[in-house]
Amino acid sequence: MSSVAKMIETIENEMDAESPEANPEHLRMVEALLFAASEPLDQKALSTSLPEGADLPGLLKALEAAYEKRGVNLCRVAGKYQFRTASDLAFLLRKEQPEQKRLSKAAIETLSIISYHQPVTRAEIEDIRGVAMSKGTIDILMEIGWIKIRGRKRTPGRPVTYGTTEAFLVQFGLESVAHLPGLDELKAAGFLEAIPPSGFDVPNPSDELSADEDPYDPNEPEMATGSVNLDEA
């Protein structure tokens, strides 16, 4: 038997083990739907196109396994599914693209802080970076579409809170913000808390509104948030 055949045999065995009942016709359908789409699809979008009674979770698992070692993989991003080229083949495909005017160091750092600390206010970002933020930093990240205004914190002044978007997850290939690299270590070290570690009450970055956060209402008049770092000044 050739090596290709062996490879496929492995896939077959995996598929056999993981989803003994995946219907091959349904598998073809999910494959075609995901392949044709330009955007990641969620289970709801997929299931509306499948015959009733199709075991979508089983089919997705089977596909994931079948493509695991291929040049194209089935990836989970932002809770959705998308075929993407295998990351180890980046060298083959990498394109020098005019990246969004190369983000500044400040913008990159702000993006990371927002992603790990969300929901987070401007003042909290400034506290972490120890420097007042220039107006453009948040704007640029909003313009690229990686961050959004999530809500307002129930603290004096009701400052708006920032969080990351689905486009951010898609761009960085993350299934959810809970899958951010090194999140657990940062959490364990207490660096995601607003104040120095004292207890074990560690907040998770989460897309859900947090307990002291209200949903954002764009019609609510903006309060002055100021840019002075009140904590240390």
Partner: protein, 276 residues
């Protein structure tokens, strides 16, 4: 980020530090905390165990040399310098709580250390995040996605109400030149009340009962209620702007209005307020 990256564009204003041959320029830093972190890294020990006293000395020394070179220092660098000088002075004194339960010097040092660690950790996380395989740079989706043909199933929201409204309106307009208009509720607009009150200001002599200022056509039934409410609101708005003064002697008692733009002698006329 390496030292070289940080400073290579700033030769003109660079400071050469003899001890570490460190090229330093203020503009290269993202604020005082970034500068502190760089200095802390130069101590080459775990930031958790860094000597804050030594760090404070390094920072103050840096600020001094920057001053000597007449470098423009942003205010927050100086604020940090003052704070570190204060911390330093307290660190060498016996530990005790400051005024108003202010944390001890050790607690302040711990907090600074922790902030440096956190900034350091976030920088590392940032590097890891940006190092991920990125869509359309390292990994790619389908290059030639196949479009989904959307078939629009059109439904109409129009109801019997829309049909009848259209019929009645259209025919009435053609025949009578009139259009159907729902009867207006008897409400005096606040703007209208305010406009009226403003026009009357010059003519109000001293304290006048609010209810005597209502438009004549609005003095009966439901119209009166609306007129009283709107005139009161208008009067409150004007009182806020200093255009009138209001007085009410007891809850639910008559409310009196007078021109608020009279002289400073207003206190004397207070006594003459009716109903007092």
């Amino acid at each position: 980020m390496t030292q070289a990256e940080n400073f290579d564009d700033f030769e003109s204003a660079a400071i050469v530090r003899d001890d570490e041959a460190l090229l330093v320029q203020v503009d290269g830093f993202e604020g005082p905390l970034d500068l502190l972190l760089t200095l802390a890294r130069n101590q080459k020990v775990d930031i958790a165990k860094i000597s804050i006293l030594k760090l404070a000395d390094q920072y103050l020394e840096f600020i001094e040399s920057a001053k000597k070179l007449n470098l423009e220092l942003a205010a927050d660098y100086l604020v940090m310098a003052a704070w570190l000088a204060y911390l330093k002075s307290r660190l060498v004194l016996p530990q005790e709580k400051g005024p108003d339960g202010e944390p001890t010097a050790d607690e302040m040092a711990t907090r600074l250390r922790w902030r440096l660690q956190r900034l350091d950790a976030m920088r590392a996380a940032s590097t890891r995040l940006m190092g991920r395989e990125r869509l359309d740079r390292d990994v790619f989706g389908r290059g030639d996605p196949e479009p989904v043909n959307v078939i629009k199933l059109r439904t109409y929201k129009d109801t019997m109400y829309d049909l009848l409204t259209a019929y009645a309106t259209d025919r009435a307009r053609k025949l009578g030149g009139k259009t159907y208009r729902p009867e207006m509720a008897p409400v005096l607009a606040i703007e209208e009340a305010r406009e009226r009150l403003e026009r009357m200001l010059g003519r109000i002599s001293d304290w006048s009962a609010l209810t005597t200022l209502l438009p004549f056509e609005w003095t009966g039934g439901a119209r009166r209620r609306s007129a009283v409410a709107s005139t009161l609101l208008a009067a409150l708005e004007m009182a806020r702007d200093g255009k009138v003064e209001l007085q009410q002697m007891a809850p639910f008692a008559e409310i009196f209005v007078r021109d608020g733009r009279r002289g400073p002698d207003t206190t004397t006329s207070e006594a003459s307020a009716p109903g007092a």
